[in-house]
């Protein structure tokens, strides 16, 4: 009986990891940079969602409508003010390396800003479904994590449709495939980059809202999910949306199931081992295009 609950937990946590990785894979897919501030931006979204929940008492899932646009603007501005000048400086360089560092520095700034503004205490949004599990026959899974799974599937689906069928979505994909060709087709690259970073950050707001009912909020919470998101993105294939979701679920399952047979600390090492195996055997990941890597 217990094993099914383990699988259910792995699935739901994995889907949430996928949701966090969605923004990361979008930003890499389009701008070819790894956003090291992803963790800090997730923490910022969790902070804003928590304090909005504390002030209004609305269910976190309704708050998505407020937090997502805020984070879109934050992401858009980050790209425009901070990343664009550095990208311009390095436009002929194949691998814009110092942009990676810029995002890492941004992460330190955001985390310590949050420490100053929100203080160092751990807080958690206690909603009606926080400590409750849903039972499907013998299988028991925590309600908050299960809702997170639902949100992750819905949002990933919607986002995939948006990417495939909307005009902005097409612009994003075109820029991702060939920046110069796209600009020849009349796509404003600088605007598309800013939109990509904006959407990537807005997706984090959704992940944040899914997390706060069962996970604590603290200035350093971003680091917990950051490296996991990297591993998920590479496993799924850098730049691939379905890859991010599937990669997340795989990592979630490994963590949950493996922990039954070995200590939790060894499962962390197992996850890193899987990551390195993928990196060396098939760096393009499950869905990534082999030429891309």
């Amino acid at each position: 009986m217990g094993f099914l609950s383990v699988v259910a937990n792995g699935l739901s946590m994995g889907a949430i990891y996928g949701l966090i990785a969605l923004g990361l894979t979008l930003i890499f897919g389009i701008m070819k940079i790894i956003n090291f501030a992803q963790g800090a931006l997730l923490m910022l979204s969790m902070m804003i969602s928590y304090w909005l929940w504390a002030a209004t008492g609305l269910s976190p899932y309704i708050l998505i409508i407020i937090v997502a646009p805020i984070m879109f603007v934050v992401g858009y501005l980050c790209e425009r003010v901070l990343i664009k000048p550095v990208l311009d400086e390095q436009k002929d360089v194949r691998e814009p390396v110092s942009v990676l560092l810029l995002t890492a520095a941004l992460a330190i700034v955001l985390e310590n800003l949050a420490l100053m503004v929100f203080g160092a205490d751990y807080v958690m949004a206690k909603t009606s479904f926080s400590d409750v599990t849903i039972a499907f026959g013998p299988v028991m899974v925590s309600a908050a994590r299960f809702y997170g799974l639902m949100i992750a599937l819905v949002v990933a689906g919607l986002f995939y449709l948006f990417l495939m069928y909307s005009q902005t979505g097409r612009n994003l994909r075109a820029t991702g495939q060939d920046r110069n060709a796209a600009s020849l087709m009349g796509i404003d690259i600088t605007k598309t980059y800013a939109i990509a970073f904006g959407i990537g950050t807005a997706l984090l707001a959704v992940a944040a809202v899914a997390l706060i009912p069962f996970y604590y909020v603290h200035p350093s919470v971003g680091q917990v999910f950051m490296t996991k998101a990297f591993i998920v993105v590479v496993l799924g294939g850098l730049g691939s949306v379905p890859g991010a979701l599937l990669g997340g679920i795989i990592i979630g399952l490994i963590e949950s199931i493996a922990a039954q047979y070995m200590t939790a600390t060894l499962t962390v090492i197992l996850v890193y081992a899987v990551f390195l195996l993928v990196l060396f055997v098939k760096p393009s990941g499950i869905f990534g295009s082999p030429y891309e890597w």
């Binding site: 890499f28 070819k32 940079i33 790894i34 901070l82 000048p85 550095v86 400086e89 390095q90 360089v93 194949r94 691998e95 390396v97 110092s98 990676l100 560092l101 810029l102 890492a104 520095a105 941004l106 992460a107 330190i108 700034v109 985390e111 310590n112 800003l113 420490l115 100053m116 203080g119 160092a120 200035p219 680091q223 490296t227 990297f230 591993i231 590479v234 850098l238 600390t265 060894l266 962390v268 090492i269 890193y272 081992a273 990551f275 390195l276 990196l279 060396f280 760096p283 890597w293």
Partner: protein
């Protein structure tokens, strides 16, 4: 270079060296000396990282692995066999070279972003590993509780001194050593090859450069010297805690200092290392106790603004001042970055 120019530079250099050697006479307060030692150590570590990160342009964000392997092997050998750290550091350095080859071989074939990701994952994996190994056979590793260096009091052989001055001279020599290695490297064939493959791997391969082999060589040199830095850290702090020596803090700090100073140049990381480490110490000295997190916020902002507005690092400003100064002495016209293939 005209005659005047050569001996002017060497005069400045000689004066600077003498000043540095006499410094411990002027700075008597052990705490100030300790801060200077820490800054020199960071300058050294940033320069070691620069060999693979700056010259070859391979963004390694997990260099903490090499400081850790150097420190842990040397301390374990010292604690178990009493092998003097002066010998232990070669074993540690050798192990670092081996580790860099094992990590480099598969990842150097990948694109820059992948290499950076791989190094982050590997270093975090090693931190978890170190936290989990209490001991291997009769060697105590200390796990998460950390490893204490056996105290033997004041003895040069055991690299342990009560006063700060010996540490100062050792780290000073290490900084001169790494500057000399960087200078030699940049003028050598390997140096040209590294900068070439940093600029464009395909063009470099078409000109007879074995890209992967040269990256591995640069990686090995960088790992060896970084490991020496780790050994010095262990002897100075006398306590090894996995997260402190192999964690993200150590790895990213080295990279920031080199980039802010001016990666890809010889003196950039040294200047960046000393200046930024000193400033973060001073900010913590004044603001540490007050508002929580303020000093790290300021440190982060400085690095952020430098990357945006001064991408080629502080060294470029020093060069400009140097050129303007030397142009006044009938130098034959502006040399725009002649000798020094700097660059982000």
């Amino acid at each position: 270079m005209t005659g005047i120019n050569i001996n002017k530079n060497s005069v400045i250099l000689a004066v600077l060296v003498v000043l540095l050697l006499l410094l411990p006479m002027a700075v008597t307060k052990p705490y100030y000396l300790h801060v200077i030692i820490i800054c020199l150590l960071w300058a050294y570590l940033a320069s070691s990282w620069n060999i693979i990160g700056g010259f070859a342009g391979q963004l390694s964000l997990g260099h903490g692995i090499y400081t850790a392997i150097g420190a842990y092997i040397t301390v374990i050998l010292f604690n178990t066999f009493g092998l003097s750290p002066w010998l232990g550091l070669f074993v540690g350095g050798g192990a670092a070279i081996l580790l860099s080859l094992v990590i480099g071989y598969p990842t150097f074939g990948l694109r820059g972003a992948y290499y950076a990701l791989a190094t982050v994952a590997i270093s975090e994996g090693i931190v978890v590993l170190l936290n989990n190994t209490g001991s291997i056979g009769r060697f105590t590793v200390g796990g998460a509780e950390g490893l204490i260096v056996k105290m033997v009091g004041n003895s040069a052989v055991a690299f342990q001194f009560n006063s700060k001055i010996p540490y100062y001279y050792i780290v000073l020599i290490m900084v001169f050593l790494i500057i000399f290695v960087a200078k030699w490297l940049k003028e050598s064939k390997l140096g040209y090859y590294l900068v070439a493959l940093r600029e464009d791997e395909d063009a470099a391969a078409a000109m007879g450069i074995n890209v992967r082999r040269n990256k591995l060589i640069a990686g090995a040199i960088s790992a060896f010297f970084t490991a020496l830095g780790g050994v010095f850290y262990a002897m100075l702090i006398r306590y090894l805690e996995p997260n402190a020596i192999a964690g993200a803090g150590m790895s990213t700090q080295m990279v920031f200092l080199a980039i802010v100073g001016g990666s890809g140049t010889v003196l950039g990381p040294v200047i960046g290392g000393i200046l930024l480490a000193l400033i973060s110490e001073i900010i913590r000295f004044y603001l540490g106790g007050q508002l929580m997190g303020l000093h790290l916020f300021i440190y982060g902002m400085i690095v952020l603004l430098m990357i945006i507005y001064q991408p080629r690092g502080i060294i470029e400003l020093f060069e400009k001042i140097g050129q303007r100064f030397s142009r006044k002495h009938n130098d034959e016209g502006g040399r725009s970055g002649a000798e020094d293939p700097s660059g982000a």
